[in-house]
Amino acid sequence: MFNMPKLPLADWIDSLVDWLSHFEGFFYAVTSFLGGIIDAFQWVFDIIPIPLFILIVMGATWYITRKNRRWGLLVFELIGLLYIWNQGYWRDMTQTLTLVLSASLLAVVVGIPLGIWAATNKTVAKIVKPLMDFMQTMPAFVYLIPAVAFFGIGMVPGVVASVIFSMPPTVRMTQLGIEQVPTELIEAADSFGSTGWQKLYKVQLPLAKPTIMAGINQSMMLALSMVVIASMIGAMGLGTQVYFAVGRNEAGSGFAAGLAIVILAIILDRVTQALNQDKH
């Protein structure tokens, strides 16, 4: 055992990464595409005046929770967002929000079709399962290295690393939700002569919706948990503030920025959950 040479796995991965960097053009295209999405979010957040932003968030919550009013959440949003404004973290917060929303959007756009595919094809399911396990359990730091190699420094590699880390729940829950649709309902759809697509969007997706939404919610929370790590490769936001505070050994400002992340997390979580709660 001791005489056995070490498997050069690390070297292999390095060569793979080197080889991949030949596809500069491709990565450049992806970078500009992702950059476009990120800039669009950020542009919108930047032009909205802060008080109006707070009102919009509360108004949206008011509308989403119309069947089941959540006054506590509205009060929390008001106080929480005022706190972030007051602490001077507003722009950091919107940057973090941009990162989380971009990553979640990509996780949804890629994850839901992948989940559907896995639910309808056993071979795909067999490949997707270990891949998702791997993506989620590999320490998130590890993604930073290739992300930087391919996408440079800044928001884009941050989003890429976040997407990889946060996508598995969306894929898994989509697959689960579709597999859980009772057989008789599938039979009913078939017996009336549904096509595969009709079955998907009239029966399977509507019935899997709560499960899929729960997956998206989890993905969003995972993306948020990536913000401090992403800040190490230049993804700006609240994470950067925490990262700096750690570097300067400032417990106070670290805590203040951390609290802002917690507030954002709670608002995102409760709002997406409320979206899922309107029964029927």
């Binding site: 008789e184 309902l185 039979e187 009913a188 002569g193 009709q198 009239k202 029966v203 019935l207 919706k209």
Partner: protein, 399 residues
């Protein structure tokens, strides 16, 4: 009548080792032996039957006998292991995916044992489902769905959700959804099992009307023999995936193929299937155009009866003559008995179900006379024969 559905050697084996199981099946092994040897479950074993156009064909059998599997192979929700299903002469196994979808849209509707309603849709939207799949305009399908909901007695529930309705009501939604499609063939898997007795009878009547007016072909699975006898033109009885007997209700009742079928029909309420014709006996009559009081008296004495049916030479029924009146007429030396005829005989027709007479038969003073449309006397119904038929003994079945 043409054949709508033709099933030949239809077999379904579930699980692994299907080939091996099939070989064993053909070698004559039983379902249990095959399960023990190969872990494969025989769902349906070489079933052969036909369903005629406009017929109500009922499938019966104990739980697990393969009824649901059989009905699902008719529209290919389950792919048979072997054998064929022909719909209007077309082999559905040879159809492309698109053709199968088309035939399912145009010819079939299915009503499910467990309702299979979409929980996220209202009753109205559920009822529209089949039409929606066909691409029918919103207005038109809404109208059709409302009509069907009214037929099944659910008017006013359109905007509720399935979980707000009782099991029986949900089952009726399933029925409305199936009917909204206006299919040629209705496949109904225990479609009335969750209904209360009153509703159930209503729905059975509705189904009989549908079949009579619109010539639907209906394949109906039931656990309830009385239901099967009431609505079935023919009944197929299954056991362990095999077809044990196919026949009209009367054939099944009077000539059960084996002990299994016999046990099945043991406690049937026979009044539902037996008609007047089954228990009718010949009447003792006297021809009022020819006979006098003395002949009438002798006939009554010979047969030990106190009254006699009065007919003419063409056997038209006039009424009944009482023994006391005859005796009086003899004393007074009357020659004609026409004046003695009392028109008090209750009459009935040969195809009336016995159940319709049950209430009156014990309270009428004289036995029912069975007459045809021209009032010819065909026979009479005595109480003893009715009770005999109902208890399953000494049945005088004329099949």
């Amino acid at each position: 009548m043409s054949t709508k559905i033709e099933v030949k050697n239809l077999t379904k084996i579930f699980g692994k080792h299907v080939r091996q199981a099939q070989t064993l099946l053909e070698a004559g092994k039983s379902k249990d032996e095959i399960l023990a040897e190969t872990e494969a479950t025989v769902g349906v074993d070489r079933a052969n039957f036909t369903v005629e156009d406009g017929e109500i064909f009922v499938i019966m059998g104990l739980s697990g006998s393969g009824k649901s599997t059989t009905i699902r192979m008719l529209n290919r929700l389950i792919k048979p292991t072997s054998g064929s299903v022909l719909i209007d002469g077309q082999d559905i196994a040879k159809m492309s995916k698109a053709e199968l979808q088309k035939i399912r849209r145009e010819k079939f509707s299915m009503v499910f044992q467990s309702f299979a309603l979409l929980p996220n849709r209202t009753i109205q939207e559920n009822t529209e489902f089949g039409l929606e799949i066909q691409g029918v305009e919103k207005e038109e399908r809404a109208k059709k769905a409302r009509e069907m909901l009214e037929v099944v007695g659910l008017k006013g529930y359109e905007d509720q959700y399935p979980d707000q309705l009782s099991g029986g009501m949900q089952q009726r939604v399933g029925l409305a959804r199936g009917l909204a499609n206006d299919p040629e063939i209705l496949l109904m898997d225990e479609a009335f099992s969750a209904l209360d007795p009153l509703r159930r009878k209503d729905m059975q009547d509705e189904l009989l009307d549908l079949q009579a007016n619109l010539q639907k072909t209906i394949v109906f699975i039931s656990h309830d023999l009385n239901e099967a006898l009431r609505i079935g033109d023919r009944i197929m009885i299954m056991k362990d995936g095999e077809v044990v007997q196919i026949g009209t209700p009367e054939e099944i009742l009077s000539h059960p193929a084996d002990d299994y079928v016999e046990r099945f029909i043991e406690d049937v309420d026979r009044s539902r299937v037996y008609t007047v014709g089954n228990v009718m006996i010949p009447a003792t009559t006297v021809n009022i155009e020819k006979a006098g009081p003395r002949l009438a008296a002798r006939r009554m004495r010979e047969n030990g009866i106190s009254s006699i049916y009065a007919i003419d030479s063409q056997k038209h029924l006039y009424g009944i003559i009482d023994a006391n009146d005859v005796r009086k007429a003899i004393k007074e030396d009357q020659k004609d008995i026409r004046s003695l005829v009392q028109d008090v005989v209750p009459t009935t027709h040969i195809d009336t179900p016995l159940s319709d007479l049950m209430d009156d038969i014990s309270s009428t003073p004289v036995p029912y006379a069975v007459v045809d449309d021209d009032n010819h006397l065909l026979g009479i119904i005595v109480r003893g024969a009715v009770l005999g038929a109902l208890s399953g003994n000494e049945v005088n079945v004329n099949v």
